[in-house]
């Protein structure tokens, strides 16, 4: 028994070290004043300054943010519809195909998704003249498509974990199905929609391969820019950029996690107070 | 064997979870071949005690001795004890035969012997034709029998049963109760049953320990705990009872007179030697020990009280009357419907003024708890 917990504890430590030490080292080197990335030349924040002066980086970042916001929003709407369909509409013709199309993008290798979407866009352009050329629009369409699958899965699992008697009760009390959706179902899945939006946003911000296929000349997303620089090796300004991105995301996730944790605790406390008042 | 006759000996066992004391200094002796029940409400510590016997929890202090062997350092998988889990805990990926034979994998026996043993057990619980089924293909009662056979396979010295009938419906429960008793008698294995159901404990067990908040309140035969409860908790927990606060006014020849103001009468009841005049006691009488009548009894002051029928519950074989006394207190009276009469001819009916009387031997005196 003792040996087993020692073993589990040491694998956990090793695993988390494996996951986090590389990032931490990279972050540390972003404060290195030396241009040589392997030699520590003292503490400095000069690379952050250089980064902010780099128009190329700023433009790419803005483009990526724009694509991420738009695609995450559309993906959340479409994914919510898809999740509702899977969790609440029961059996219908073509359900198997539908659920297959929802789960396949989650594991499909990016090169296949990217290639097939590009070929679709090219064919559509030849046939109906839309979309004319490739660029931010086609990247956004591609990102919506794979992100909505993630949103759908999140919404579906939220809804299946919830008893649908609440919705039936509302229906029983005279609400039309549409009202039930608006008054009952949406508030319940709202937190899942928020997580879905955030996940879609980061997936879009992070995507390199699909964007490389579906993007046209002239517009460069942030991952494409980073990739082109990274292929040439380690540079301190990319360390700084990475530190900024990782830092912002971590802060966001930790704050969101903390807020949810607190809300849950508050709810538990309320329940306890209510129980105590009843006794 | 230890010097005395106890097969399982629980010595001053305490179990704490952080600040919470789940089992508080419990001592208990159980003899070989007994069908013993631990009875109590949820959170009373009965399951924790059972899990300490199985070895899943370690006592914070105290000792558990089974068949002369101190279980202190013995891991669950080395104990001569098997358990039937409340959820049955059947392995979902193994069929009935594999489930039953699982414990025998570690025994030194040939494959043939093992097969033989499994088929004996299948016969014992009458599941021969279901040997190849998976647990999810069985009914609740069949699963219960598989769990029982699996726990018996290794011929344990002690079988622990956690709410063995809890998951069964009422009809099946009664039948299974007697099956369990028969199997226990046939094999002579010591059974320890944990249950919250007093009827189950009373029918199954030869002795019952009643637990409350980690403490054993009383140990005795079903008759002992029902007819001769030693504490208010036991009296109230087992069956239904009418209980009043009272003061002892006199003690003579093992019988005391007790004045119970709320009841509005004097009780005469046998008492144990320790009770003396002036003691505050509880005095109680079970509903079925009270006679109800519209006619005036001989004595109207001792073991008799007048009231008005407030409620009448007709259950078929018997009826329950709730009678309101002058003090406003309610007394419950059970009456067997041993005669077949029309409703209109009922001897006692709603709003009747009635007299309640009981025999001096029926009243129970419960000393104040320290």
């Amino acid at each position: 028994m003792q040996n087993r917990s020692v073993f589990l504890l040491s694998t956990l430590c090793f695993g988390f070290a494996f996951l986090y030490v590389p990032i931490l080292i990279m972050m540390a080197y972003s404060f290195n004043s030396s241009r040589l990335v392997t030699v520590w030349g003292g503490f400095s924040t000069q690379w952050y300054g250089k980064l902010l002066e780099n128009d190329q980086v700023i433009d790419a970042a803005l483009l990526s943010l724009k694509i991420a916001v738009v695609s995450a929003s559309f993906a959340t709407i479409l994914g919510t519809f898809a999740g509702l369909t899977l969790a609440r509409l029961g059996r219908f013709k073509g359900r198997t195909l539908f659920s297959g199309m929802i789960s396949a993008p989650l594991i499909m290798p990016d090169v296949i998704t990217g290639l097939s979407l590009l070929l679709l866009f090219v064919s559509l352009e030849t046939l109906i003249g839309w979309p004319s050329g490739r660029g931010a629009t086609t990247v956004t369409l591609a990102h919506i498509t794979f992100s909505m699958a993630y949103v759908a899965v999140i919404i579906q699992s939220r809804l299946t974990s919830m008893d649908n008697s609440v919705e039936e009760a509302a229906m029983d009390l005279g609400s039309t199905p549409l009202r039930v959706m608006w008054d009952i179902t949406l508030p319940i899945i709202a937190p899942a929609m928020v997580s879905g939006w955030l996940l879609s946003f980061t997936l879009s911000l992070d995507d390199l391969v699909i964007a490389s296929f579906t993007n046209g000349p002239g517009s460069t997303t942030l991952p494409m820019l980073i990739f082109s620089k990274v292929k040439l090796g380690v540079t301190p300004d990319i360390n700084a950029l990475a530190t900024l991105i990782v830092g912002v995301v971590t802060l966001g996730v930790v704050v969101a996690g903390f807020l949810m944790f607190r809300a849950e605790k508050q709810r538990d406390r309320d329940v306890q107070v209510a129980i105590a008042a009843n006794e | 064997m230890t010097a005395d006759d106890s097969f399982i000996r629980i010595e001053n066992v305490t179990k704490k979870f952080g600040e919470f004391v789940a089992v508080d200094n419990v001592s208990l002796d159980i003899s070989k071949g007994e069908l013993f029940a631990l009875l109590g409400g949820s959170g009373c510590g009965k399951t924790t005690l059972l899990r300490m016997l199985a070895g899943f929890e370690t006592p914070t202090s105290g000792r558990i001795i089974i068949d002369g062997q101190d279980m202190g350092d013995v891991q669950p998988f080395n104990r001569p004890v098997n358990m039937m889990f409340q959820s049955y805990a059947l392995f979902p990926h193994m069929n009935v035969e594999k489930n039953i034979g699982y414990g025998l994998k570690h025994e030194a026996m040939s494959d043939g012997e093992r097969k033989q043993r499994v088929s004996e057990l299948l016969d014992l619980v009458q599941l021969g034709q279901f040997a190849a089924r998976k647990p999810h293909q069985l009914s609740g009662g069949q699963r219960q029998r598989v769990a029982l056979a699996r726990a018996l396979a290794k011929s344990p010295k002690v079988l622990l049963l956690d709410e063995p009938l809890g998951a069964l419906d009422k009809k099946l429960r009664e039948q299974t109760q007697f099956e369990l008793i028969n199997i226990q008698e046939e094999l002579g294995v010591t059974f320890i049953v944990v249950t919250h159901d007093q009827e189950e404990a009373m029918t199954l067990a030869s002795r019952i320990a009643i637990m409350d908040r980690g403490v054993i309140k009383q140990v005795g035969t079903p008759t002992d705990v029902y007819e001769f409860p030693t504490s208010r908790f036991t009296a109230d927990f087992i069956g239904s009872i009418n209980l009043f606060d009272g003061t002892v006014t006199s003690v003579k020849a093992g019988k005391a007179r007790i004045n119970a103001a709320k009841a509005g009468c004097t009780f005469e009841a046998p008492v144990s030697p320790g009770i003396k005049s002036g003691d505050a006691v509880g005095v109680a009488v079970r509903p079925e020990k009270i006679s109800i009548s519209r006619s005036r009894p001989k004595s109207t002051t001792v073991n008799a009280v007048q009231g008005e029928v407030l409620d009448l519950g007709y259950f078929g074989k018997d009826s329950l009357y709730r009678v309101k006394l002058e003090s406003g207190e309610l007394i419950r009276v059970n009456r067997v419907n041993d005669q077949r009469v029309e409703e209109a001819d009922r001897q006692v009916d709603w709003d009747d003024k009635v007299w309640l009387t009981w025999d001096a031997n029926s009243a129970i005196v419960l000393p104040e708890e320290p």
Binding site: F7, P22, L120, V209 | H93
Partner: protein
């Protein structure tokens, strides 16, 4: 009077427009299901058919750079040419074999590291468990590209690992770790580890604790109990996690490009280069189709176990 009242009710109901009534009866279902359905048919399913068509087309110097065959003979010839490359040119078939090998080995390492981690998390309690889970999920949210980038700084000839090993005297000259298969294994295990841990955790956490207690009660040591009960019951989690790692890893592009060797590229890189450098769309499509065919069995396994995991609940 009553007749009048009845009439006014029914007329106001019709006034509430046929559209609204259609919505309330069944229309809302059609909209909710129809929009994402149509989207996926157009942007997910249709592209695969286009890929199939282009895979049997002829490469051409035109825009777009392919010609769709209009005769049976042309079709056969195109299939023979495009798919012929994949069989005859070692670049392609070694690319596939390499990818399958690297993905399989990485999956095994992910499992060996991820299983005890998932088990440890499932066994821990309350707040600790939540924090550990958050630590597993956190890398999901941070840039995949940048996390691979971090390894370039570690694995290089002048990288942190070599510097540390040289400093403490374990090695005399730097180890060649960058641009090797070893670096690719590290990269894949590193970036896909959370995908292995999460389904395993979900599976192990649901596992009924009384089952392991029952096995121990029947005489099994903890090790035996693990083999007899925990491991077989966590097979759905193992399969789901392994497929979540194996399938995308097979088509991985970024990791082998940044960390791997150029001499025996993985198939994702072959496809990418075929498309962008050679501009041979038909052969790139053929490569994609064969890759998809190789992955059909794992994808179906994943869906099967996913459905089973949902059915259990």
């Amino acid at each position: 009077m009553s007749e009048l009242a009845g009439k006014s009710v029914s007329s106001s109901a019709t006034q509430r427009s046929g559209f609204q009534r259609w919505l309330n009866r069944n229309g809302w279902r059609k909209i909710v299901a129809g929009i994402p359905y149509f989207w996926l048919l157009l942007f997910f399913l249709a592209p695969f058919f286009i890929v199939m068509v282009i895979a049997v087309s002829e490469a051409a110097y035109s825009i777009p750079p392919f010609k769709i065959p209009f005769s049976w003979e042309a079709l056969q010839a195109n299939i023979a040419t495009n798919f012929g490359y994949l069989i005859n040119d070692s670049l392609y078939y070694t690319g596939y074999l390499n990818s399958l090998k690297i993905a399989a080995i990485s999956t095994v390492f992910c499992l060996l590291l991820g299983y005890p981690m998932a088990y440890g998390i499932a066994r821990s309690s309350g707040a600790t468990r939540n924090i550990l889970l958050l630590l597993v999920i956190l890398p999901f949210w941070t840039s995949f590209l940048l996390r691979i980038y971090a390894w370039i700084g570690l694995l290089g000839t002048n990288g942190t690992i070599n510097n540390v090993l040289l400093a403490i005297g374990i090695i005399d000259e730097p180890l060649q770790m960058m641009n090797t298969d070893f670096a690719v294994y590290i990269g894949i295990v590193y970036s896909y580890l959370p995908f292995m841990i999460l389904p395993l955790y979900a599976n192990l956490e649901r596992l009924d604790n009384t089952l392991t207690e029952a096995a121990m009660d029947l005489g099994s040591t903890p090790a035996r109990t693990f083999l007899d009960v925990t491991l077989p019951l966590s097979v759905p989690g193992i399969v789901a996690g392994s497929m979540l790692v194996f399938i995308p890893a097979t088509g991985e592009y970024v990791i082998p490009v940044l960390l791997g060797t150029g001499s025996s590229p993985m198939i994702g890189r072959v496809l990418f280069d075929e498309f962008f450098l050679n501009t041979d769309w038909p052969v790139a499509s053929a490569v994609a189709i064969v890759l998809l065919l190789l992955l059909v069995v794992p994808i179906m396994m994943f869906n099967h176990y996913q459905a089973r995991a949902e059915g259990v609940e």
